[in-house]
């Protein structure tokens, strides 16, 4: 059986559909606003994308799932595709500000410092 990988937000959105299907799309917008804090346009954008990928379907303003919950899987949040940005500032700036990744040795050292200080 083929596995469908979904991003966190997509998975949460699909979960709403699995729980309530079949659901009227206006209802779905309301539900997304309450549960996910999404604007109407965001809901429709994500819905369109998931329909295009054959995960959900929207027929006559009624949304239902094509892929079953058991066949879908969330992306591990750490195996992120490509980090486009970091925080609210341009990337070169965060690099400049010294917010770089720390090395393993540094991390170990810091861990030791924290332990010592809070003994």
């Amino acid at each position: 059986m083929e596995q469908y990988k979904l991003f966190d937000a997509e998975y949460k959105f699909a979960s709403l559909v699995w729980k309530n299907e079949p659901i009227n799309s206006t209802e779905l917008v309301k539900l997304s606003r309450d549960k996910l804090g999404w604007k109407k346009s965001t809901t429709y954008t994500v819905l369109r994308k998931l329909c295009e990928r054959g995960i959900l379907k929207n027929e006559d303003a009624t949304v239902s799932a094509i892929v079953k919950k058991e066949d879908a899987q969330k992306y591990e949040s750490q195996t992120v595709i490509e980090k486009v940005f970091d925080g609210s500032l341009p990337q070169f700036l965060t690099a400049f500000l010294g917010e770089r990744k720390i090395t393993e040795r540094e991390a170990e050292e810091l861990k030791r410092i924290i332990e010592e200080a809070t003994k």
Partner: protein, 659 residues
């Protein structure tokens, strides 16, 4: 655009001093809560965005050796007219730095159509605006990308959203800020991170950072501001950490540090080894700061408040303007009013009188009637002046006529066709036996004194101010006597004798172009960039250094001149000789490059000659060879006219022995 750039440059210099002081003050406040270091960046920001400030004797900038000019509340190190100054000079307030900078600034080429400094400032401001634009576009694109990515962030509670394609929590949005956290954080980690981010929101840090960054974009050329921004960000984070600890108690130190650490370990390795990263990583110093945090003692806080308040005021204030009253012999001229009444004709009664009235008179002297002699040349103005009070007169140098000479030079500059100005002073006080003195000044005298046609200064209020500044520093008596005693020896214009027929044509055309037999003799030095024949036309592209001289006894003085690129077109006659058709000069100032590009075309077909205008413009940066050629031609000319032992007195008063 150059003015805007100059304004930014001036703000940047002040801000640099304040930033250096803030960095020093941070060391002083190292034991104090970080909030104090954080607010110290406020004056730096104010200096970056606001050119004006109040004056105070408390200003830290009083340490500057001589106060930079304070024009209407703004510090001015780099003058706005730097592009037009004879010797461009900045005054950053510390002598040795100013000298080092000034020695690297190119002096004005008085004869050239565009000063090197003017060109340099124009170029620099273009580079600046390109940098600003690129950074703005980059930032806006980055911001929009962020917005697009967090659009699908899902609600956790209140204003907290989680998103899975980020690795670090942050605050987003301007009006109703949201906290965006990476999806899948443990509840334990979350509580500290949320406390941290909520503190940022409460203190409006999410607004501070973008505005500080915007200021940084406009000052991108100043490395100190980048450093300041980095340090400010660090202080912001650390003081935010401290207020979390203050709120949640010292016991959470360990777990708070651990959440920070685990977040930063999770980061992707993309940024690793970035050449821009410096010092110990932020996270290390933050964790150390958290672990070392103790609730500050009362007296530490009290002392820090006092110190910080004093520093902020002194960083923000401009130095007290110790108004050195202008010397009495240098009265204030209003260049704007003078320029407004500039006139080509001495016959324009109302403008001429307005000009005379705009010029200051020494105390105790009032203006009587003004006579305009316009029937035939030379055109004269006679200003009748009445002395009503003799007490100050001798002190102020009226008797020597300096004030009148200064005024007359300005009139020669602003009234195109006046040749002679008489200042007739009659005594009405009885003290000098009703004597009357007349000071007569001629345009010729003025030009000898100034070394060039003073009308060239009447272009704008800015250039006129340069003339006023020059007059201010001038001694008149010495100049007058040394030159007037010598009788002028009239010499013909330069006659070249070269083997290349085209070069000979150019010499003859250029001498003809610049010759003014009544006003000295002309010598030229052309650089030829190429000659193009098409049909019966010949077009030669040149840059000509022309100069008119007058010889008084053994002293040669420069009357006026210029370095002007030109296109000279000739027609070839049936017998093989050439007749001059047109001598087309490049235009002045900002039209300069464009006008050259326009005439760099073939004589008949008007087809563009590629690369030619660039060649001419590149060459225009350096006039050394032309100056040497001019000197050679001048010496040759003097020799062929049997003039020996001649000394050239330059505009700059430099004496050059020639033959």
């Amino acid at each position: 655009m150059t003015d805007l750039f100059t304004a930014v440059l001036n703000m940047s210099i002040t801000a640099s001093y304040v930033a250096l002081a803030a960095i020093a003050a941070r060391m002083l406040l190292i034991k104090a809560p970080k909030i104090f270091s954080y607010v110290l960046w406020l004056p730096v920001f104010i200096r970056l965005v606001c050119p004006f400030s109040f004056n105070s004797a408390f200003s830290f900038l009083n340490f500057l050796q001589h106060n930079p000019r304070l024009s209407s509340g703004a510090m001015e190190y780099v003058p706005y007219n730097i592009g037009f100054m004879q010797d461009p000079a900045v005054d950053v307030g510390i002598g040795s730095i100013s000298n080092a900078v000034n020695s690297s600034l190119p002096p004005a080429a008085p004869m050239a159509s565009a000063n090197p400094m003017q060109v340099a400032m124009g170029f620099a401001s273009n580079v600046w605006i390109v940098g600003v634009s690129l950074l703005l576009i980059y930032s806006i694109v980055s911001y929009l990308k962020v917005m697009d990515n967090v659009k699908t962030a899902t609600l956790v509670r209140d204003n907290i959203f989680e998103a899975d394609r980020i690795t670090t929590p942050f605050v987003c949005g301007f009006i109703r800020p949201k906290i965006i956290i990476p999806a899948g954080m443990s509840e334990n980690e979350l509580s500290y991170i949320l406390a941290h981010e909520q503190t940022h929101i409460k203190r409006l840090d999410y607004l501070v950072k973008p505005f500080a960054f915007l200021a940084l974009i406009f000052h991108w050329f100043n490395p100190l501001m980048w450093l300041s921004f980095a340090l400010m960000s660090k202080d912001m984070e650390m003081s935010c950490d401290e207020s979390v600890l203050k709120k949640l108690g010292n016991d959470i130190k360990g777990s708070y540090s651990n959440s920070l650490l685990s977040l930063s370990v999770k980061r992707s390795g993309l940024l690793m080894g970035s050449p821009l990263a410096f010092g110990e990583s932020n996270i290390k110093s933050r964790i150390k700061n958290i672990l070392a945090y103790k609730k500050p003692k009362f007296w530490v806080v009290a002392a820090a408040i006092v110190i910080t308040a004093v520093l902020i005021v002194s960083f923000t204030a401009n130095p007290k303007n110790e108004d050195v009253s202008a010397p009495i012999t240098y009265p204030e001229y209003d260049a704007e009013v003078l320029i407004a009444n500039k006139t080509p004709y001495v016959g324009n009664n109302s403008k001429v009188v307005a000009l005379i009235d705009a010029l200051p008179l020494p105390a105790g002297i009032v203006r009587g009637t003004v006579e305009l002699h316009t029937a035939n040349q030379p055109y004269e103005i006679t200003i009748n002046l009445v002395m009503t009070d003799a007490s100050d007169v001798t002190v102020q140098g009226v008797i020597s006529g300096d004030a009148f000479y200064r005024n007359s030079i300005l009139l020669f500059s602003l009234i195109d066709n006046v040749d002679i100005i008489n200042c007739k002073i009659s005594d009405n006080t009885g003290k000098y036996d009703d004597a009357s003195y007349t000071f007569t000044y001629t345009r010729e005298m003025t030009e000898r004194l100034i070394g060039e046609d003073v009308r060239s200064y009447a272009g704008s209020a800015g250039t006129l101010k340069n003339l006023i500044d020059r007059l201010n520093g001038m001694s008149f008596d010495a100049e007058r006597t040394s030159k007037d005693e010598q009788k002028e020896i009239k010499l013909p214009d330069f006659k070249a004798n070269v083997s290349d027929p085209i070069e000979q044509l150019v010499y003859d055309a250029a001498v003809k172009q610049y010759s003014r037999p009544n006003d000295g003799f002309t010598v030229v030095a052309p650089t030829i960039f190429g000659s193009y024949e098409e049909g019966n036309k010949l077009k030669v592209f040149v840059t000509v250094f022309n100069m008119r001289y007058r010889l008084y006894g053994k002293t040669l003085s420069e009357v006026s001149g210029g370095i002007v690129p030109a296109a000279i077109t000739f027609t070839k006659n049936a017998d093989g000789s050439y007749t001059l058709d047109e001598y087309l000069e490049a235009m002045d100032g900002s039209f300069f490059p464009k006008s050259i590009k326009e005439y760099c075309v073939m004589p008949v077909s008007k087809k563009e000659i590629r690369g030619l205008s660039d060649k001419i413009l590149d060459d225009y940066g350096d006039h050394k060879n032309r100056s040497e050629l001019l000197m050679e031609n001048l010496v040759e000319h003097l020799k062929s006219n049997d003039q020996k032992g001649i000394i050239l007195k330059r505009v700059t008063d430099e004496l050059v022995p020639l033959t």
